[in-house]
Every structure is written in C-alpha cells, then in structure tokens.
C-alpha cells in the first residue's frame, strides 16, 4: 500500500495538514501573469519559491514557464528586499525586455513588509523602467488562502496596473477563472460564436500550450495584449467566472472604474454553461446554431450512456470554483456525489456544495486535505474519484477509477489542449468519465460478463 498509514477512523486535526489539497498564492499569481502578452512574472522572495512554482507549472504543462526572482539572501531578509528588486528590474528589462513585469510577493517579503509600490516608484524615478514598459504587482502572502486566491490577487494587480475610468465602450470583460489554456480558448470560442465583443484576461492559451516549431519564443504569441487590458475600465460590464478566482478582480474593477459585474460559476457542465451563454445573450450575444449543436451533442451522449453512471458514487477534490459546478453537473446527470474536499479555505463552500448537490447528505470540507478525503473514502467507498494527480495514490490503494482534473496534473497530457469548460468541455469530461468507468468494468468483469458492445 502506498498510503499504508491512513487509518479508517477519522480524528479531527487542528494543526497538521497531511497531503495538501491546495498550494500557495504565488503560483496562482505567476500563472495569471503568464496570461498577459509579453509579461515576465517576478517572484519577490527567496529563489526557491520561483524555482518551485516554475517547476510545478512546467510539470503540469510540459511547456517553458519563464519567471524571475529577487533571490533573497539572509541579508535581504533582515534589511528588506528593495535593493534586490531594484537590481532585478534593471536586469530584467535590459536582458529579457518584456513589456510588463508582474511582481508578486511571497511569505518572506510579506513578513518583512516590503512595500512594492514604493519600490517600483523608486525604480521609475531612477530610470530603471524604460518608456512604454510596465510593472504591475500583487500581494500574495502564502499564509492566506491558496493558489486560487493568488490568481485572484494578480487579476486585481492587472486591473490596478492597467484599467482606467473612461467613456464606456460596447465590449464586455471576461475573467475566465483559474482554468487551463484550453478552457480559456473555449471561453473565447463561445463568445466569438455568439458575436460578443469581449476582452478576456488573463489568457494563457497560446502561451502554455504552444506548438513545436523548432523555434523558441520567450514571449509566445498568446496572452492578453496590453492595449486590451487598458480597455478593461471602459467595458460595459464584467463577467466573472468563478467567484474565488475572478470575483475579487471584478469587484475591484467596479470600485475603481465603475464597471458593473455579474458573478457566474465556471461554465462546467450543462447548467453552468447555459448560465454563461444566457448571460452573454442578455448582453448582446446571439446563441449560434453552432453552440446549440454542441449542447445537443452533450445531451445526446448523456441520454445514450446514462446507465453507466447513474447512481454511481463519486468523490471530488480540487478548487472551490471547479467543485461547485462539477457537483451540480454530476448530480444533474445522476451521479451520487458523496465526498467533496478542497484545501482552499472559505466557509461558504460548504453551503454552495450542498446547494449544488441538492442535499444535506453529503460530506463536504473546506481547508482540508487528501488525507481526510482518503479517510472518508475508507468509510464510504466510491466508484469514481475526480481530482488532481495526487489522487492517484488513493485511487490505486482503494482500486477506484480516477479522472484527472484540476491542478496539478503531472502525469498525463490533454488538459493543456482540450477543455472541460463549455459544452465541448462537458463532452470531453463525460468522455473521460465514461472511459474510466468502462475501462474499469472491462478490467474487472468476470469473463462471462465481459461485454463487446457497451
């Protein structure tokens, strides 16, 4: 057994996190910053943070992930990191020439209390920032929230750095949430199909799922252009997909530039995607035949194959913005969602999951971990797990099929290229789920019950 020490008996823990179901803010901030065209994320702290975040994102995407660090030493930890950040700014603009440096803090620089706006202002005064170049920043203390919080904080940083109040134009902003490059493409596909003029930020598509061409581009063609970011304050509204990752940014843009917002779930599954499409429709979009067709295809597969998943028990682990619409979708189509665990703290999560599942009879926990999820599963076995790569230790020990979803996925490809958002994403999700369940049936069925046609 890989997890041989996990007992069935659940004892509440107050202080020890075991097998975390979240990671720290800065990696989310780094990811968000990669979705700005010609932006170099910068980690203000010890260089290990940057190395770890780059490694995690690289393993997840199998793509170059560029970011710089202030490389704190013991001296900077005592005297503050100003000198390091000033040097870094000069070096980055001279050597790597990005259009934007997106500085995020770490637990170290937050604990010291480095004042990033003051340091970047000083960098400007000292002529370290070339004309037409930008530095934006986000406070991302690792001891608050999770990687999703960090993503949200960098969205605020983008708005802080680029959005200005001005005459309203016709477009709407979309903050897509902490989702994959493929999912961001899918959001663009939907808005384009509906003919809605949008600015989506950030946009990591064509950044973290680029092609092999024999040529390396430090700044790939993707990412939201600065000119678009500068228009975000003029939008007629913002659609924020996923309240934790996108909500704070949408609210901030409302406060700063008077752009109203509508908060939606991530468009995972039929109902949430319907809600997104409907929101676009109410803001000038026309539901295209193409989208109706895609929606119909999902329903077609669901009606055709429902005997394979109806009533199946499922455990979910991941980020709140994903888990709520996922619970709703799986419940809608007949799954019995039994356990839902996130590492990200937030008390509303429990009520939202129970609402999505339409029942109080479900095990839900926030600020929790894989160890707890495993104990829940030991107490009530499920037929399927949906979660990130770390779920596979539980899946193997307990002999349960696993569908990989969330961050990180270190051991499979696909999430970079194929979405789980939108109708096409729902189709892919249901395909993955069916394959996992049917492969399991094929592997375990007695010979006389082995089916050719399924």
């Amino acid at each position: 057994m890989l997890l041989r020490h996990t007992p069935e008996e659940i004892v509440e823990r107050e202080a020890l996190t075991i097998q975390p179901a979240k990671t720290c803010q800065p990696v989310g901030a780094m990811y968000a910053a990669l979705g700005i065209h010609k932006c170099l994320p910068h980690s203000h702290g010890s260089q290990g943070c940057c190395a770890y975040h780059r490694s995690a994102l690289t393993r997840h995407y199998k793509e170059p992930v560029m970011a710089a660090t202030s490389s704190f030493t013991e001296g900077s930890s005592v005297f503050g990191g100003q000198a390091n950040l000033l040097d870094a700014i000069t070096n980055i603009f001279t050597i790597y020439n990005p259009d934007v440096i997106a500085v995020h803090t770490t637990c170290l620089s937050e604990t010291i209390g480095d004042d990033i706006p003051q340091i970047t202002a000083k960098a400007r005064d000292e002529g370290r920032v070339p004309n037409g170049k930008f530095i934006i920043r986000a406070n991302t203390p690792s001891y608050v929230g999770s990687h999703v919080t960090g993503f949200g904080n960098m969205i605020k940083g983008i708005i802080d750095g680029f959005a200005t109040r001005g005459t309203k134009s016709g477009h709407i902003n979309i903050i897509p949430g902490y989702v994959e490059p493929s999912d961001m493409s899918e959001v663009k596909h939907i808005t384009k199909s509906m003919g809605v003029d949008t600015v989506m930020f950030p946009d990591t598509s064509a950044v973290l799922n680029g092609p092999q061409t024999g040529r390396y581009e430090m700044y790939p063609k993707g990412g939201t252009p600065i000119s678009d970011l500068q228009k975000t304050g003029f939008a007629k509204m913002t659609l924020a997909l996923g309240p934790i990752a996108s909500g704070p940014g949408a609210k901030f843009l409302d406060t700063k530039c008077g752009v109203p917002y509508e908060m939606l779930s991530l468009p995972i599954g039929i109902r949430s995607t319907d809600a997104f499409v409907n929101a676009l429709r109410k803001n000038g979009g026309i539901v295209s035949d193409e989208l109706e067709y895609e929606r119909g295809q999902v329903l077609d597969v669901l009606t055709d194959m429902q005997q394979y998943f109806h009533g199946k028990k499922v455990a979910l682990v991941g980020d709140p913005d994903h888990l709520v619409p996922l619970t709703e979708f799986l419940t809608d189509i007949g799954f019995n969602v039994r356990h839902v665990v996130t590492g990200t703290p937030g008390k509303k999560f429990i009520a939202r999951i129970k609402e999505a599942a339409g029942t109080e009879d479900i095990n839900v926990k926030e600020a929790s971990d894989f160890f707890y999820l495993h104990q829940l599963i030991k107490n009530e076995k499920v037929d399927l797990i949906l979660g990130n790569t770390y779920s596979k230790y539980i899946a193997r020990d307990e002999d349960i099929p696993l569908v990989r979803i969330g961050f990180p996925i270190y051991d499979r490809v696909g999430h970079q290229y194929f979405p789980i958002l939108g109708y096409r994403g729902a189709l892919r999700l249901i395909e993955k789920i069916l394959n996992a369940l049917l492969d399991y049936q094929d592997k375990t069925a007695p010979e006389e019950k082995f089916e050719l046609v399924m």
Binding site: R4, T73, L108
Partner: protein
C-alpha cells in the same frame, strides 16, 4: 565544428548584453577551461549570490535540506513548518524510490506534512501550532523520528523550532525529534541546505544505534538519492560481490541505518557537494576513511568497484569483483557499440546539480558524445577545481551564516580502520582519500565551464553551438526542446532510469539513442516549408 567561434569569443557573446555590474560578476563565473600537468585549472567563481532577475536555475536551502538530503528517507516523519507551498512542492516530486522491507514497515514519503501556517501564526508565532502538529503526527503515525523543516517566515518571526523539538522530545521520549533551520533565504542556493542537513543528521541521529549488518566488507554509500532506482542497482552490484551497503545517504534509507552508520569500515561519496560534510565529520569522529566514487558510466562503475575492493584488500573479493565486471561488460559492450554507431561525434552540454554535470560526461563519452560546455547549479569551487583549492576559498557572509561544526574524535568508539602504512600504500596505488579532483581537470581545454547558468546564457549557447543534446532540469527541458534540441533531465531522468551502475549505463545508452535519434525531430518542419507553393512550367516544356 571548424566554423565555430573560439570559446573566448562565445564567452564575450554570453555577457555582451549585460549591465556592467552583472557582466563584471558573470565574467568570473564563466571560464574557458585549461588543464595543466598537475590538474591545475583556472579559478571559477561559484557559490556566490544569484543575480536578482537573471532567471536562474537555482533553488533554495529548504529544497537542498528537505528535498534533497532528508526527503529520500522513508521513516523519518517530516513536517514542514511554514505556509503550505514548500511542503506541497517537495511532495514526491524528486523520484526518490523507496522499498519498505515489509507491507507494514513505515513509509511516510507519500504523505506531505505541513503546519500550513496562517496569518495569525505569522503574527502571533507558530510554535503552538507546531507543537500541536507534532502531537497529532505522533498520535497518528507513532514514528521513531520526526524532522521539522523551517521555511522562510519561520526564521523571521523567530519561532524557536529547536526548543520546540526538545520540549516535544521530552514529552515523547520514544521519538527522536529534531529541527532543521533550512529557511529558503539561507546561503545562496540548495547547497546551504545540504550543509544544514548534514550537520543535523550528524549531531542528532548518527551514532545512536549499535545495529550492525552482516558482512565482511561493510560500507556506506554517501550522496546517492535513489532517483529512478539508482541505489537499487548499486545495492545489487555490491551485494552480488559480497559487499554490504550498510546505509545509503539517503536513497532507500531508514532512520535506523542512519543511526548506526558509524558501524562500517568505509564511506564512499557519490555526490560530493551534498554530502562531503558528513563524510569528513564521520572520519574525524569515528575514523572511517572516505573516498570519491563515480557509478555513472560503465567504466567509472568498474573503476569504483575495483577501488572499493582494493580498499578492503581481500584477494578473493578482488577476484570476485573482476569476474563480476567481466560478466556485466558483455551485454554493456554490445549495447554500447550499437548505440555508439548512431551517437558518435555528437555534442552535449550539461548544466545540472553539484556532481551530475561531471559524472554524466563519462557516460556520454562512452557512446561517443563529446561535452563542449558544462557547469553546476549550486556547486562550490572544490567541485569544479578539486578539493585542493579549499584552503584558498574565500568565505563570504552568506557561507559564514551556515554553521560549521567542530568535530572531535570520539573517545570511546573512534577506531582507525587502516594503519597509517596501509593508507599510504593505498594512496600510492591511486586511491585518493578524502579527495575529489573536481570536474574541470576531467574536461578538455577550451571547453566552457559556466557556474549558475541562466536563461539568457542558455539561449546564447544554443544559438552559438547547436549542441545535439542538452542536459539540465525540468525548468529548462521544454525551452531547449522548443529549439528542436533534445534535453535529458538529469534530476528526474525524464521519469526513467536507473542510470547508475552497469544496468543503468545500458538504460542510459538506449534512452539517449532514442532521444537524439527519434525521427520525430525530423518531422518538425512540414514539407510545404521546403517546397514552393506554386510550380509552373515554361510553355515549351
């Protein structure tokens, strides 16, 4: 390669773009190698601060301590004291394989544990939470030993982790509880963390047990972390000839093996950078001699086995080793010659670690691949130039902050393993005790040696040299491959291996052959890039 610019010119290209201050520093970290008759090589500046913003390959002290040295030990329960990230990122990502002795034997490696400090712990201190976490860990797992690893904010807010460990050990006398002050800002790279780990393992664990393992020839393997099963292969080779590997530091190891590691007659060192402190301290305290080995490459492995056999000085052992090598070499030569026919004359660059960039050059050479540039991520001058330069290394403030233990001979259990005369005789026969010759004397003159390579320099090197193979880590992997140049990860082996020892050499030959010669590289350019879109004929054709 005749059309290539000289290494001096390329060095200039590497630093041309830099601000003056950066260029001044990098010029001392980039050296054109030149090897003299007595292994003299030019000085290379290393183990100095990373330049902010440069896009370094380096990590931090925590990564070196928890990730590298202690991480591979399966039954020391490891709690990271800090916010969640550090524990999360060091959770199973280094591929240290481990094989518990039974289905129920402790193995905590798949469990990442953290105090997940929150803002109130940063403001009011995290000691209380740490104590509670230890309570909970002991109640759940009943471990023999617990290691606590401090992350950046812990040092700043002043949590006294060592006092907590003492207090909790008094509360739980059956558990050895010790802390590592390996905050990420310590030192200038992972290297500081190695040193911190060595020190604490030495003072808190070594010598606590009298466990001995059967065998006439008993040794420890230091600086071998069982990535991809390397240590399993070395254990196979050594046990096959009758040598007992008592403890490996720290691949596939246990607490008990660490605690009794003084009960051997020899320490051999694989990764010099990460473990040389422990080798030195064990020699001073218990009289265990050490020498450097290299089990990367078939020839190096054979050489290392012979060296160990010679040390034990047993005629039968020496004969057994020879027979073993002869047997293993049959398959190795077959595969090597086959692979060499496709790889001969290719060029490689290696930028990794504190030993691997040296070790793997020999393995590549066996299949005809020539190293044209190499460097380490976190090494010191002795790893480049050899231990002979240690007395001349300037100790700067960053290094001075890492404790240097004063070790004395143990009055009871010190035992000279060999007499002065025996050691002298072995030295005369070529065994260099307590020494490492470094990477540069092994590299030809006119190769480039670059310390702490960064992203900009990687791009320049690739554009100037177009190597056939690049060896580095995961952060570099997909950058280099976008150029259409294969990159072999030498931290994780691209999730393959083992590459150490005899079987490892065969695996490596085959993997490199596949990586370089796969037809996929040739498919990158579509046919329409080569052919014109429109073709026309003259009327008279």
């Amino acid at each position: 390669m005749a059309e290539l610019e000289t290494p001096e010119v390329i060095k200039q290209d590497l630093i041309n773009k830099y601000p003056v201050k950066v260029a001044r520093r990098r010029t001392k970290q980039i050296v054109v190698n030149e090897v003299g008759d007595q292994e003299e090589v030019p000085e290379i500046q290393s183990n100095i601060r990373t330049i902010p913003g440069i896009i370094t390959m380096r990590g931090c002290a925590y990564a070196g301590c928890k990730g590298v040295v202690l991480g591979p030990t399966r039954d020391i329960l490891q709690i990271t004291h800090g916010p969640i990230g550090c524990s999360f990122y060091s959770w199973l990502t280094r591929r240290n394989q481990t094989k518990p002795t039974s289905d129920t034997a402790p193995n905590y490696m798949p469990y990442a544990m953290s105090t997940d400090m929150q803002d109130e712990n940063i403001i009011f201190g995290g000691e209380k939470k740490l104590k509670k976490a230890i309570d909970e860990a002991i109640a759940l797992f009943h471990p023999k030993a617990i290691g606590i690893f401090s992350t950046c904010p812990v040092g700043l807010i002043g949590d006294d982790v060592h006092a907590v460990c003492r207090e909790m050990e008094a509360k739980y006398p059956d558990t050895n509880i010790f802390g590592f002050s390996c905050e990420g800002y310590k030192g200038v790279s992972q290297s500081a963390g190695h040193h911190i780990a060595n020190n604490k393992v030495f003072t808190e664990v070594l010598g606590l047990s009298d466990m001995t393992k059967e065998g006439k020839f008993r040794m420890n393997m230091l600086g071998e972390y069982n990535i991809g099963g390397d240590a399993f292969e070395l254990d196979r080779m050594l046990s096959d000839v009758g040598i007992t590997v008592h403890s490996t530091f720290s691949g596939n190891s246990t607490y008990e093996e660490f605690a009794s590691a003084q009960n051997v007659d020899l320490n051999v060192v694989m990764c010099h950078r990460s473990i040389n402190y422990l080798a030195d301290m064990m020699e001073t305290k218990w009289g265990i001699p050490w020498f450097k080995v290299n089990f990367i490459g078939a020839e190096s492995s054979a050489k290392s086995m012979r060296k160990i056999a010679k040390y034990f000085g047993d005629a039968e052992l020496i004969a057994t080793v020879e027979k073993f090598i002869e047997k293993e070499m049959v398959e190795i030569s077959k595969v090597r010659e086959d692979v060499k026919s496709r790889c001969n004359g290719k060029t490689a660059m290696l930028f990794v670690g504190g030993s691997r960039a040296h070790h793997y050059q020999e393995l590549l050479a066996e299949i005809g691949i020539r190293t044209i540039a190499a460097g380490y991520e976190f090494a010191h001058r002795d790893d480049y130039e050899g231990r002979k330069v240690i007395p001349s290394i300037k100790v700067d403030a960053d290094t001075r902050n890492i404790e240097e233990l004063t070790v004395e001979r143990d009055p009871v259990s010190y035992r000279a393993r060999k007499s002065e005369e025996e050691l002298k005789a072995l030295s005369d026969e070529g065994i260099r005790f307590g020494d490492y010759e470094g990477m540069m004397p092994d590299m030809p003159s006119d190769t480039l040696v670059i310390d702490d390579l960064n992203h900009h320099e990687t791009e320049v090197l690739i554009e100037k040299y177009h190597p056939d193979l690049f060896c580095a880590g995961v952060k570099e992997k997909y950058v280099v491959q976008k150029y259409g140049i294969p990159l072999k990860q030498l931290h994780s082996y691209d999730y393959q291996g083992p590459y150490a020892g005899f079987k490892g050499a065969i695996n490596f030959y085959r993997d490199i052959d596949r990586l370089i010669n796969t037809r996929i590289w040739k498919m990158i350019n579509p046919p329409w890039h080569e052919e014109p879109q429109l073709t026309a004929k003259y009327g008279w054709e």
